[in-house]
């Protein structure tokens, strides 16, 4: 009887030890590479960070319908740049408040250098890390030879188009692209 109890205890202790390790590993390692664990400071920032309403399917539908109407307008070339509002929304970041919005206009430089348009003062971000550049009505992201790479939906890219709702990760900060 004692042997059975001890055997069960042994297996339980080992299992719990590994559950503990797994839980910490998941959070702790994610913390360095982005991917889910990054934690902004608990301290409330003095300014209320600007929040945008999440894009719901109904909003999306309304936009699509609006564009469909625009497309059918006679005579005009198809140029929607007037009607879209491209922006990056901070989804997760150890330094920026989640929900912070960066409207995109023209060329936008992202990096650790204070002269960047979006300054990310993080250890895994290069001084000039990536550039966002408009091509027609779209935005392209271009890695500027950064040390730790630029990721879209966790795939490393050198140059890629930002699509609606794609996740752009630079260092430990993850942005959501919206238009």
């Amino acid at each position: 009887m004692t042997d059975v109890i001890l055997f069960i205890l042994k297996i339980l202790i080992l299992a719990l030890l590994y559950v503990f390790i797994w839980l910490v590993l998941r959070r702790a390692v994610g913390d360095v590479y982005g991917g889910g664990g990054a934690q902004a400071p608990d301290i409330a920032s003095p300014d209320a960070s600007p929040q945008v309403a999440p894009v719901t399917p109904s909003v999306r539908r309304a936009r699509r319908d609006k564009r469909a109407v625009e497309r059918t307008m006679p005579g005009e070339a198809l140029d929607l740049t007037e009607h879209i509002n491209p922006r990056l929304v901070v989804e997760e970041s150890p330094i920026l408040a989640a929900g912070l919005v960066f409207p995109l206009e023209g060329w936008v430089l992202v990096g650790r250098a204070p002269s960047s348009d979006i300054v990310l003062d993080e250890p895994f971000v290069s001084q000039t890390h990536a550039r966002l550049r408009p091509v027609g009505q779209f935005f392209m992201v271009e890695d500027l030879g950064s040390t730790n790479g630029t990721f879209i939906n966790e795939k490393e890219v050198t140059e890629a188009q930002l699509r609606f709702d794609s996740r752009l990760r630079i260092g430990e900060t993850i942005f959501r692209y919206e238009e």
Partner: protein, 439 residues
């Protein structure tokens, strides 16, 4: 989850594992259950909850994983020590209380680790003095002169000196790193920085070699030199210091091998313990047998063959050889788990260093992380015969008052650095929010 909530949840998790381990030891001993023994478990949990409360009050933004990892290591250690000899566990419990008091004192008195930088030479001198006192007045245990006895206590000053010297080096190297990365003269084609800046470092260098010869302890001297080399490399990013450190240590070790019989003996039993199976190699062989006996899943806590009568089968099982006891009772899986807990601790500690906003904090945290990780490597490597055996403690797990108190102070410093980092980053975020607009 907020940081402190995360910490509390993981602390409770560690408490559950520790309680189960205690139950296992009691069940294994059968009739040997005393209610006073259960009290150990409760006191253990209470100590860490008090530390958690202190961190919550004063270091609210500190890293949430370091304290639970510490608690888990201490829990594994305390149960194994209890299982080997309850008297040691009682003493270790008392040392844990002393360590907790020093942890709280460190947090309350220092508050901001930047202040330590102002006392850098004083702290460095104190560390040096601790080592010199040990060399002169120390008593020799197991061939190594690492212990200082007074008033019925024996303490191992090198554990505290380790922290003092990391603080000194972090401050000094942060100040002089530019000077040290630019060579001003060449000796035999080797670029050397100005002697004025290099002087204090040369003292460190010589000290670690003196330790090897006079303390007759390979481990501590390797630890000090490695901390020194790692910090100077991190400060200057010049690989030449690492190469030079390696060469110097090899020369020192070769000289020590010729001069000091104790070092020679340790080296011989590392190469071939069977040649001295009945004498000097006995301890290492017993340790290896204990590890092998554990198998993959281990015998179970309280069930391993660790005691012959009331004597541990491996001499010094509760201190230097505690890893063999863990490997015996929790098996390969448990031993690897224990090492993973150490890896996670170092990972968090280095993360604190990477994120720290200034040079002193970075070097301090990285230095403490290096010290902790290397000490673990040196003793586990020694016990498993990967490197020559040397008598230093396994942090938080081994029985030893100096070790557990010094390492709790080390954790307090790491928490302080991470707290300050988060506060500063939150402050700069406020600034950044105002400037964050495009163009």
């Amino acid at each position: 989850m907020k940081r402190r909530t995360t910490e509390l949840v993981y602390l409770i998790f560690a408490g559950v594992i520790s309680t189960m381990a205690y139950v296992s030891v009691f069940t294994g001993r059968r009739g040997d259950i005393k209610t006073s023994s259960v009290v150990y478990g409760l006191i253990f949990v209470a100590i860490f909850l008090i530390l958690h409360a202190v961190v919550r009050a004063f270091l609210s933004q500190a890293d949430p994983y370091l304290l639970p990892l510490t608690a888990l290591l201490a829990a594994i250690g305390l149960t194994e020590i209890y299982r080997i000899d309850p008297r040691y566990a009682l003493l270790q419990g008392q040392w844990l209380v002393v360590g907790a008091v020093l942890f709280i004192a460190t947090v309350l008195l220092v508050r901001d680790h930047e202040r330590l930088d102002g006392y850098r030479y004083l702290i460095g001198a104190a560390g040096l003095a601790l080592l010199l006192i040990t060399i002169v007045f120390g008593s020799t245990v197991n061939g190594s002169r690492l212990w200082l006895r007074f008033a019925g206590f024996s303490i191992q000053p090198s554990e505290f000196a380790k922290i003092a010297i990391v603080i000194f080096l972090a401050g000094y190297l942060n100040d002089k790193k530019e000077m040290l990365s630019i060579p001003t003269s060449h000796v035999m084609g080797i670029p050397l920085p100005a002697p004025k800046y290099f002087g204090p470092l040369a003292v460190m260098w010589i000290l670690s070699l003196l330790m090897l010869i006079f303390m007759k302890d390979f481990g501590m001297s390797l630890l000090f030199l490695a901390i020194f080399v790692a910090l100077i490399y991190m400060a200057t990013s010049r690989i030449v210091y690492v190469v030079a450190g390696g060469v110097m240590f090899s020369i020192g070790a070769a000289v020590a091998y010729q001069v000091v019989g104790h070092v020679q003996e340790r080296f011989q039993i590392w190469i071939d313990p069977w040649a001295h199976a009945a004498t000097t190699g006995y301890q290492l062989l017993q340790s290896m047998f204990a590890i092998a006996d554990g198998g993959v899943l281990g015998a179970g806590i309280g069930r391993g063959y660790l005691l012959a009568g009331h004597r541990p089968v491996v001499p010094d099982l509760q201190t230097d050889f505690i890893f063999a006891a863990v490997a015996n009772e929790l098996g390969l899986i448990g031993a690897v788990g224990l090492i993973l807990v150490y890896v996670l601790f170092c990972w968090r500690a280095f993360r604190v260093a990477i994120w720290a906003p200034d040079g002193f904090s970075k070097l301090l945290a990285a230095g403490l992380a290096t010290a902790f990780g290397l000490q673990t490597f040196i003793i586990i490597g020694g016990v498993t015969r990967l490197i020559p055996l040397t008598g230093i403690t396994l942090p938080f797990v081994s029985y030893g008052g100096s070790s557990i108190t010094a390492n709790l102070m080390l954790v307090a410093l790491l928490l302080m650095v991470s707290h300050r980092t988060a506060v500063i980053r939150a402050g700069s975020e406020h600034e950044r929010l105002k400037l964050a607009g495009i163009k």
